[in-house]
Amino acid sequence: MAKKPDDRRLELLQGTLDMLILRTLQWGPQHGHGIGQAIRAQSDDLLKVETGSLYPALHRLEKRGWLKSEWDVSEANQRAKYYRLTATGKTQLSRERDRWSQLVNAIGRIMNPAPAGKE
């Protein structure tokens, strides 16, 4: 998996952004910018969420009822929209977490028993 150092950033896997957002909000309400920063920091800068994907995703999750939003003033004294996990959002997060670990498990079983060479 050796890459050029400035290109070590990973593409998000399809369908994982929602889970990451939900997970991030588990620590408490946060605005869009903060969520983006948190994902980036938590992944040691490996994952960077594009705003063009992040914001539509936030609105999509809100429409489904997993998030709730309200306007508030940020620590930097800037008005921002804060997103908060709802009860159904929490259930959804645990469901996605299960599915994710099953997926990792399944892929791991395929990838590990027969250690292949480099691609």
Partner: protein, 874 residues
């Protein structure tokens, strides 16, 4: 929940601000930080669009976009006020007329009656088509037969009409009263609003006289005075106590002021009434027995009627072809209004179509002018749905305004239409305006709006015909031009149908008014001075003779006479005539005795009314009760029964049992025929009796050289001096009586002419608009034609002939379509008539003339085209 545009913007702004702030905190240069943040963010617009995309809901979005389009439409229409005014007024008229007529149709034809279980209530009618009698009513023995034999009807109610002179509410006057049996109100299923109604205890000859007031009389004449119950009235020679007030209900068969029990009418207790099978004066109602159907009741009634006819052949002459019919009461009540209202509804619908097609023309022309704008939008990627929505926005604004105007107009129109319809059905008096009017108006407007938005052709995005279109000049494509013409032609065609129909009604009215009635109608004043029928007492005769003599002495009076029957106004009140026989005349084998009208007149009657004697003498004061019985006959009687000789001095007698033993009467004179039953004269067999021998008559005729109405007060004064309680009513010249009788025809002609006029106006505006538009779109062509030597005159002629062609095609299409429609209508409705040649030619001439006038202005403009300006246009 659903964030709006500002919400999204602010969220993005907040993100950027935080991002910038963070970078500055990290030590970046503020300007560079800003740029970097924006760069990192990517396309703000795309992000915002996909955020909004998350929340998208098809319907809400469409509504939002439509709202946007409506705002645009309002702004763009503000610049075309003339167009807006024309469209809104045209649509408003169309919508208003339709909504108003719909309200009246619904209330008159569709609303149930107030009567309990009104769908079980039927009206039974006996008719004698052979005698031309649509309604012979029933006699008491006939009703008794039905009551004892019919099982499909649970009960019968009877109602007869009689005139009483009534004392007790103000001045003595004649009232029309209903006389009913004890079961009437129960069968009709009506309730009192005050006191009680009549019941079985009030029936029969031994009950006390009681009367119920109708609601209209109680509210209109007595101001709803609750103290009327218990008051005693004098009705003719008897008295009656008011026991209650009837709830508001459709007065049928007659609109009376009071309804009394039989004991109040000596006539109803007499032997003639009770036992005379041919003494028919009672209307009959029935209530279907539980479980019985209308068909079963009809069949049983017909059987019983047939049996009655077999058992009493003398009361049912074969020649009369007597028949029985039973109809649900509501159908019976609404029948006279049905045809007229449906025709009115259809007419209003046609006017609406004309209005819509005219508006479509205007919109189409406007759309052509906007084609440039639409083409640019299509080229920039607007979907055809979005373009349609733009057009829909405009037509919604226009139609909405039209609907508002229409509903505003509809309220007063309902009152007008209801008053009109009241001539055909009393139900129209109770028509109300309610919210459904709004729904109808809104529905029509919405239909019009959608229709109008789909009429203009959209520029195709595949083949935008160059941005040259955006320069603002309109160019007419053949397709659009054809549509404009089709609309103009359909307007002409529909207007033609309406004009021809209105022309037919007007022609019929003119014919009716031009008819010579045989009477001196202008100078004769007729008054009702009612008296008891058949009163030959000395006092009664003296009263009338004294009255005639004293009125005759008034200045300006040229003659005074007494009769029984005000021509036309009293039509039908003496029935279809009575059979009589003539000395020395035997009809062909099996022929029944002829029937003649019976009239009672005083000496001088014929001179006063201007009816010339043919031969013989008039009655004189010497034709008394105790002297020889004499009659005067009409010319038709003389010619029919004495074809070869002089009728004078021959004898005739009535053969109807009503007259008791036949008494021969000598004919002393013959007068020209007059028809006092019909305004359009038919041959009338009439036999006149001198009033001293047959009883006083109750109608006074005064011939004057001056203003007839100026005589009313002195005449009334003289009569009151002779008899203080004598009612004197309904003074009118015969001319005005005839006008009153013709009023429905006149109103019909007026209403339909009004519709046709509106249609004509709209159609003329339409033709003129199409030509004006065609001229303005062809300015360049005209410029070129003038430049290469065409004369303005030829351009004028070419535009005029374009207009003439539209009209010609429209008239032909209208004539064809109208004929086909009339044939179709004739298979569903009775009495469908086609207009004669004159109304058709007249309608065509009016349309052609109007269209030429409408073409003149655009044509003149075409002929004045300025060559240079026209060529510079492009």
């Amino acid at each position: 929940m659903r964030p709006d545009q500002n919400d999204l913007d602010e969220e993005i702004r907040g993100h950027l601000a935080l991002s910038v702030k963070e970078r500055i905190e990290r030590g970046e240069d503020p300007k560079a930080a800003r740029l970097a943040a924006l760069k990192e963010f990517g396309s703000v617009m795309l992000t915002r669009d996909s955020m909004r995309g998350v929340w998208r809901n098809r319907w809400l979005d469409m509504a939002e976009a439509l709202g946007q389009d409506i705002r645009v439409a309002l702004r763009s229409l503000w610049r075309a006020k003339g167009l807006v005014a024309t469209v809104v007024v045209t649509l408003g008229l169309g919508i208003g007329a339709n909504a108003a007529i719909f309200s009246v149709v619904r209330d008159v034809l569709l609303r149930p009656l107030v009567n309990r279980d009104e769908d079980r209530l039927i009206y039974i009618r006996q008719s004698a088509p052979g005698l031309g009698a649509e309604n012979t009513t029933f006699s008491v023995p006939e009703i008794a037969d039905f009551q004892s034999r019919v099982t499909t009807l649970s009960a019968f109610g009877d109602f007869s009409t009689i005139d009483f002179s009534m004392i007790g509410f103000g001045e003595p006057r004649m009232v029309k009263a209903g006389v009913v049996g004890g079961s009437f109100f129960d069968v009709m299923g009506l309730r009192p609003v005050l006191g009680r109604l009549l019941n079985a205890a009030d029936d029969g000859p031994d009950a006390a006289g009681v009367a119920v007031l109708t609601y209209r009389f109680w509210t209109a004449s007595l101001n709803g005075d609750p103290s009327v119950v218990g008051r005693t009235l004098r009705l003719g020679s008897r008295s009656a106590t008011v026991v209650g007030v009837l709830e508001p209900s459709v007065p049928y068969p007659a609109d009376t002021e009071i309804i009394a029990n039989v004991v109040t009418s000596p006539h109803h207790l007499g032997a003639t009434m009770v036992t005379g099978r041919t003494h028919r004066m009672t209307e009959l109602f029935g209530r279907l027995a539980p479980g019985a159907t209308l068909e079963a009741a009809r069949a049983e009634l017909a059987d019983v009627h047939a049996a009655m006819m077999r058992e009493h052949p003398e009361a049912y002459p074969a020649q009369a072809e007597m028949q029985l019919s039973a109809t649900p009461l509501r159908d019976q009540i609404t029948a006279p209004a049905r045809t007229i209202l449906l025709v009115l509804l259809a007419t209003a619908g046609v006017v609406f179509v004309i209005a819509c097609s005219n508006v479509a023309n205007l919109i189409l022309a406007r759309a052509v002018r906007r084609e440039g704008e639409l083409a640019v939008r299509a080229a920039l990627g607007a979907s055809s749905g979005a373009l349609r929505r733009t057009l829909l926005g405009e037509s919604l604004v226009l139609c909405g305004a039209g609907a508002v105007l229409g509903v505003l107009l509809a309220r007063p129109l309902v009152a007008v239409v209801a008053r009109y319809a009241a001539r055909f059905s009393v139900r129209a008096l109770d028509v109300t305006v309610d919210a459904s009017l709004l729904w109808v108006g809104a529905g029509l407007a919405a239909a019009a709006a959608v229709l109008l938005a789909y009429i203009p052709r959209l520029p195709s995005p595949q083949a935008p015909r160059g941005l040259g279109l955006a320069s603002g000049s309109a160019r007419l494509t053949p397709g659009t031009n054809r549509r404009l013409r089709v609309f103009a032609i359909s307007q002409i065609a529909l207007s033609f149908v309406l004009l021809a129909g209105a022309g037919m009604l007007v022609a019929a009215l003119i014919a009716l008014q031009a008819v010579n009635t045989g009477y001196n109608t202008r100078q004769v004043l007729a008054l009702d001075v009612p008296a008891a029928v058949g009163d030959v007492s000395v006092q009664a005769i003296d009263f009338y003779q004294e009255m005639v003599q004293r009125i005759g002495e008034l200045p300006g009076v040229e003659g005074v006479a007494v009769g029984t029957f005000v021509p036309w106004r009293d039509a039908g009140s003496f029935g279809p005539g009575f059979p009589f026989a003539v000395e020395g005349y035997t009809g062909a084998n099996g022929e029944e005795n002829p029937h003649a009208r019976l009239r009672i007149v005083s000496p001088g009657f014929f001179a006063v009314l201007g009816v010339p004697m043919v031969t013989g003498r008039d009655f004189t004061a010497e034709d008394r009760r105790e002297s020889e019985l004499v009659v005067i006959v009409s010319q038709s009687v003389a010619q029919r029964l004495f074809p070869n000789g002089n009728a004078v001095n021959r004898k005739l007698w009535w053969t109807d049992p009503l007259f008791g033993k036949p008494q021969p009467r000598r004919i002393v004179g013959v007068v020209t025929d007059v028809d006092d039953e019909n305004v359009v004269r038919g041959p009338a067999l009439t036999i006149y009796h001198p009033f001293q021998q047959m009883g006083v008559a109750g109608r006074l005729f005064v011939h004057t050289s001056g203003d007839p109405y100026a005589l009313v007060p002195p005449v009334r004064k003289i009569i009151r001096e002779l008899s203080p309680n004598q009612p004197v009513e309904r003074a009118a010249t015969l001319e005005d009586v005839r006008a009153e009788v013709l009023a429905p025809e006149r109103v019909n002609a007026f209403v339909f002419s009004g519709f046709a006029g509106v249609a004509l106006l709209i159609a003329v505006v339409g033709v003129s608009g199409v030509l004006a538009f065609s001229v303005s779109a062809r300015t360049r062509e005209f410029g070129v034609r003038v430049a290469i030597g065409s004369t303005p005159r030829r351009l004028l002629v070419s535009v005029l002939s374009e207009g003439a062609l539209i009209v010609a095609v429209g008239i032909v299409a209208g004539a064809g379509g109208g004929y086909a429609f009339a044939r179709l209508a004739a298979s569903y409705l009775e009495n469908v008539r086609l207009p004669g040649a004159l109304p058709i030619l007249g309608a065509a001439a009016i349309l052609a003339g109007a269209a030429v006038l409408a073409s003149l202005m655009p044509a003149a403009r075409a002929s004045r085209v300025d060559v240079l300006q026209a060529l510079r246009l492009e």
